[in-house]
């Protein structure tokens, strides 16, 4: 029996190299776990039928001495990332049978390493949501309490790792879609610097905010995956050259900024506040310095986000019209084909954001909404720049509370949006942030994970890994 619960990439890699087990045996262990738990959890929309064949190829590579760190490592992929020849639906009806025609850049990089793709994971439709309840194929359940959401939009990705149905996962993050589910499921999740990872082959939601990023049980796993998928790409003109933080981080003492004004926004669960204070104490006891900082414009983040995202959504979703690919519902003429296909194929939240985006971009309102949002976005970015002159990282809780119950917030979009208060400003500024597990809140006999978010300046991922490892006691 392989101990999946405590397995990491390095441990699995060493075991594979030593021949303690094969990649086929490792993949089999995960497939058995999926059989056991995914009926309840519903992390996967599809478990690939060729998992063992992929593992066999990895085993051959290992035998021939050509293996890398990720060879034979089972990984789940969010349903909005393209793998050539496989279905990628973004959990939408309109792409139910859409087969990807090329590999995303991140997939190309993982294929070079001969990872084992276990399956595609559930999500909010086109990544719009924070609970995975907006999937056209039913919600994913939180492995810690199946009455609760796993978070979203990468809820399936988080649930797959938290329930040991994959060793690591790839998700995407536009306003918190990696960090919030990581927090709800007790995992480490990274939203890289905007442009650090190529978006070529991930379905666009908010193009100026989207980033692909990794989930894992440890900071090290997330770091290994990030280092594999990052890098400038000619297929994504917004990617940036790889700028590694310089310097030695071993035993370094960091300056950690706490934005007190922003944390007093209200609506924060008492358990989260208490846990946050305890984390600050722990950081102090580790020798790091806690510094008060001000981020005065961050309170406008959600207002900015809910102009910019619908605007970009309404543009990006225009391609789903039932013409060249995806579901087509036939009407009396070509125009009616559009109307009917989009009605039948797109879910409620997607349509709501398209309507909202169409409004804020329409003649006469563009200046009142979209331009204003971009100006305030710049103010938020400057707030971070100023803060990072004084501190190495900024710390906040990842979410205002632990995982909520399925159905609890789905009736009220504004309330659901408030879930993202700590994560959204990070995407607006394009800086990197990581969520790491920080404890639990016990509710009705169930232990619900809590998370802490660490934010660094552009290309500061190495700093995030170093502080996270110090806090979690990882070597």
């Amino acid at each position: 029996m392989i101990d999946l619960k405590n397995l990491t990439i390095k441990k699995a890699h060493e075991a594979l190299m030593k021949g303690e087990y094969t990649s086929v045996e490792l993949a089999t262990a995960y497939l058995e776990q999926i059989k056991k738990t995914d009926g309840d959890i519903h992390a996967y929309l599809e478990v690939y039928s060729d998992v063992l064949e992929q593992a066999q190829k990895a085993d051959e590579k290992i035998k021939n001495g050509e293996a890398g760190m990720l060879t034979g490592i089972p990984i789940s992929i969010k349903d909005n990332i393209l793998i050539k020849g496989r279905i990628a639906s973004s959990a939408s009806k309109i792409l139910e049978n859409y087969t990807a025609t090329y590999d995303a850049t991140v997939i190309e990089k993982l294929k070079k390493e001969s990872v084992v793709f276990v399956g595609r994971t559930n999500m909010d439709e086109f990544a719009m949501g924070g609970s995975t309840e907006n999937s056209a194929y039913g919600p994913t359940k939180n492995p810690y309490d199946t009455e609760r959401v796993p978070g979203g939009s990468s809820g399936g990705a988080a649930a797959s790792v938290a329930s040991d149905e994959a060793l690591v996962a790839l998700g995407s993050d536009t306003g918190g879609s990696i960090r919030q589910p990581a927090s709800f499921c007790g995992l480490v999740g990274l939203k890289p610097t905007y442009g650090a990872v190529s978006r070529h082959g991930v379905m666009a939601m908010g193009s100026s905010l989207d980033q692909i990023g990794p989930f894992g049980k440890t900071v090290e796993d997330v770091e290994i995956l990030f280092n594999t998928i990052k890098g400038q790409d000619k297929m994504d003109s917004t990617t940036i050259p790889d700028k590694k933080d310089k310097g030695d981080f071993v035993d370094k003492k960091f300056k950690i900024g706490v934005p007190k004004d922003f944390l007093n926004i209200g609506g924060i669960d008492e358990s989260v506040s208490k846990n946050f204070q305890e984390t600050l104490e722990k950081l102090k006891s580790l020798g790091h310095e806690i510094i008060d900082i001000k981020l005065p414009n961050l309170k406008y983040s959600l207002a900015v986000y809910y102009v910019i995202v619908p605007a970009e959504v309404s543009s990006n979703m225009a391609r789903f019209d039932g013409m060249r690919f995806g579901k087509r519902i036939s009407g009396k003429d070509g125009i009616e084909d559009y109307f009917l296909s989009r009605q039948a194929g797109l879910g409620k939240e997607v349509r709501r954001r398209i309507i909202l985006g169409t409004y804020v971009l329409s003649s006469g309102y563009y200046d009142a909404f979209y331009n204003k949002a971009n100006i305030v976005r710049e103010l938020i970015t400057e707030d971070y720049k100023k803060a990072f002159e004084k501190v190495d990282v900024i710390i906040t809780p990842t979410t205002p509370g632990p995982a909520f119950k399925i159905g609890e917030k789905s009736g009220d979009p504004l309330k659901m949006y408030l879930e993202d208060i700590f994560t959204v400003p990070v995407n607006l500024a394009g800086v990197p942030a990581i969520s790491i597990p920080s404890g639990f809140k016990e509710v009705d006999g169930k232990k619900l994970p809590l998370g802490i978010q660490l934010i660094a300046k552009h290309s500061g991922e190495e700093t995030l890994f170093a502080v996270s490892k110090s806090l979690l006691g990882e070597k």
Partner: protein
């Protein structure tokens, strides 16, 4: 305040068919969101519109064929809802 006819106009622009019920629920949901984001106007009027959003730079590539002709035809046609002789089939426009 938006009215039903505004929602209808937006739905038409966005090429989405909506039922009467959906129009009404969208009206109820979209209005509070617009009310919420309206705070941006006050923020901007307090700092002035001198700020320029975003950093602009040109990204160009060689003006050449990125793919060999017809190298992706088969997979692309396979994803089409309707096709004929390697062409996308749509309804008559004129």
């Amino acid at each position: 305040m938006l009215e039903i006819k505004d929602i209808e106009k937006l739905a038409k622009l966005a090429r989405i068919e909506l039922t009467q019920e959906e129009k009404e629920s969208l009206l109820k949901e979209v209005d509070p969101i617009l009310g919420y984001v309206a705070q941006l106007k006050e923020v901007v009027s307090s700092v002035g519109e001198t700020k320029k959003a975003g950093e602009l730079r040109n990204v160009t590539r060689e003006d050449s064929l990125p793919n060999e002709t017809a190298s992706n035809t088969e997979v692309l046609v396979a994803d089409m809802p309707e096709s004929q002789n390697n062409y996308l089939k749509v309804k008559k426009i004129l």
